[in-house]
Symmetry: C2
Subunit: 367 residues, 2 copies
């Protein structure tokens, strides 16, 4: 028996593939009879039974109970997916189509990710996932202050990527445009690039001095900036279309659903997951990542598969989009869809929203 590089004969590989695909399609354990009659093999069911017993010994297949058909194990899916990865390619037309769908709602990254998550879900009929890792506190690169009324002021905090956050400051005393401008100048000259712990009392005092006569404004603004920066630090996870999974029998019990719904609460674990798998690979992380069953550390996803790809801006990972579904997922479609989606987002945010200032220094090594 001549075996291939992976230790299986050609026929065994073909049987495994066929089992995986049949199970993906029908969701029911596939037996030797079915395989024998599907036309791909020119041997009897007995032979196939022998081969399947072999595949089970290798850990690629298993039976839910004695005397039912076989079902792929995690390793079985992994084998299937790995052999698939070499051949998939997302067509340019897909990318174009997805990009157009995204473009209608072109806006901030937050909204793009939400859209992407929805899109991923509706295109695949599984659950869509979008992740934005937290940003470092105090990462704003510029501030502006706009005087709205004698006693309120809009603070604009601009991120290096060109997006911005705004917050409303209300004062007990009257202020005017001069005060606002002074505040902006002070902030821009004093606390750019500083984290909260870098802000010392002497610095605060100097800033208040620069903002005089409305010196109180400076401390209010700094507090506000600190709050905003740390609050952003959480990162963000969008999960859309969990209800689509209810169609699949593997999610017919409430527990699995509860797990998925609770996923939003375990933000950090998901963020870690994306981050880790992005860095740990040998390649530079530009591929679609696939985690099947217990390959991820999240209990809630123990019986699911996760297909995702990171989104980059200027060479830095700024998020990820993907799909959560049953382990018997239509990997072929999903992989190319996720790839296209990530590419579409990359084009969108890369082309249209990146500030030239950081664009020119694409590979700054400040990590």
């Amino acid at each position: 028996m001549k075996t291939n590089a992976n230790g299986l004969t050609n026929r065994q590989s073909l049987i495994l593939r066929t089992v995986v695909e049949a199970y993906i399609d029908n969701g029911e354990p596939v037996g030797s009879k079915y395989l024998c009659e599907c036309g791909r093999f020119s041997c009897s069911s007995a032979t196939i039974r022998n081969e399947m017993a072999e595949l089970e010994a290798c850990g690629y297949l298993e039976q839910p109970h004695t005397s039912s058909g076989r079902v792929p194990t995690e390793a079985g899916y992994r084998f299937y997916v790995d052999s698939l990865l070499e051949t998939y390619n997302s067509t340019a037309s897909d990318v174009e189509r997805i990009k157009n769908a995204l473009k209608e709602k072109r806006a901030e990254l937050d909204q793009i990710l939400t859209q992407a998550s929805r899109l991923a879900s509706s295109l695949t009929n599984y659950t869509g996932l979008a992740v934005r890792p937290g940003q470092r506190a105090g990462a704003f690169c510029r501030y502006e202050a706009i005087c709205l009324s004698p006693r309120s002021l809009l603070l604009v905090m601009i991120n290096p990527d060109g997006t911005a956050k705004t917050r409303n400051l209300r004062t007990d005393f009257d202020i005017d445009k001069t005060d606002a401008d002074a505040l902006a100048r002070t902030l821009n000259s004093c606390i750019i690039g500083l984290s909260a712990s870098d802000i010392t009392l002497p610095l605060m005092m100097r800033m208040e001095e620069m903002c005089a006569p409305s010196s109180q404004l400076a401390s209010m603004a700094v507090k506000c900036i600190y709050e905003t920066a740390t609050e952003r630090n959480d990162g963000d996870v969008r999960i859309e279309g969990v209800n689509r999974l209810l169609e699949y029998p593997e999610y017919s019990d409430t527990e699995s659903i509860a797990g998925l719904l609770g996923l939003g609460d375990s933000k950090n674990a998901l963020l870690d997951l994306v981050r880790d798998s992005g860095e740990g690979e040998l390649d530079d992380g530009d591929d679609v990542k696939i985690l099947i069953g217990s390959e991820n550390r999240l209990d809630a996803l123990g019986s699911s598969a996760l297909v995702f790809k990171t989104v980059k801006r200027g060479g830095k990972v700024v998020g990820a989009v993907g799909v959560i579904g049953p382990r018997r997922m239509k990997y072929q479609n999903v992989i190319s869809m996720v790839d296209s989606l990530a590419s579409g987002i990359n084009e969108l945010i890369g082309d249209d929203m990146l500030l030239p200032t950081s664009d020119t220094e694409r590979n700054d090594g400040n990590e």
Copy 2:
């Protein structure tokens, strides 16, 4: 038999209340024997059976099947809730506690609502709901333009309530602070208070002229403003903690869950629901609203109850928070919690985030 205003004898009312409360607690049909032994009645089970038959005839109770205990009908819950509403009162300490919980994440209304939804869910162990109706397109009251780099510009669009949206404009040509200032001046003088259909070609031309030499900027900005304004128009619905409902047997089938999860998609229906019930009541809408089962028009909520209260800012409805749960909901707790929560939000956004301009004229009649 002397009946009360509602057509029931005192004993019947008491039986109904007891049935509702017992069913809320246990989730199982309650029979005459249970009632007889609970200590509230000094008559035999046979008498209670007669009374319950009467209550069933009135439409307040029903039996899942012959020979099981009784279960409240929608009308039964309604009776219970209405008799409850006269007596509930949210304690000041509740409001304080909730306000503190919200304050940690004080930010924009969007975030407050998300937080409120989570809070509602965790405090009641049901599903939390927060709704923000859409804002009129073109409702921005002021614009600012900040030049970020020679070829990109941050457009700040300020709402009447003091919140702001920002968008990044990327140009093909170089711009500087002068251009940005000119753009802001132009926008502020030309399109404040205009809807998209009010913007005519002559107006556009005049604006481009005012922005010269970078006249192209004006049309880019207007398009961007239009997109942003209409996109906000959607309103927003946050549903948090659906997984908590999985604990309750009435949501053990996947269909009911699917309905709830799909609720996010039928945004508009929910928004209408909140709007309509806010206006249609006799009182001025300051009460907690309760919709039980088919009292709302959403199929997905047909077997659920919805308890919510609108959130106002300057006399105008800007959102609503509430709770979705099984019809046998702990109304007493939920009602006072929702009331406290809405009050807490009202205080937060009323006190801290309203622009003085509209704050001073709190009761301006522009609705």
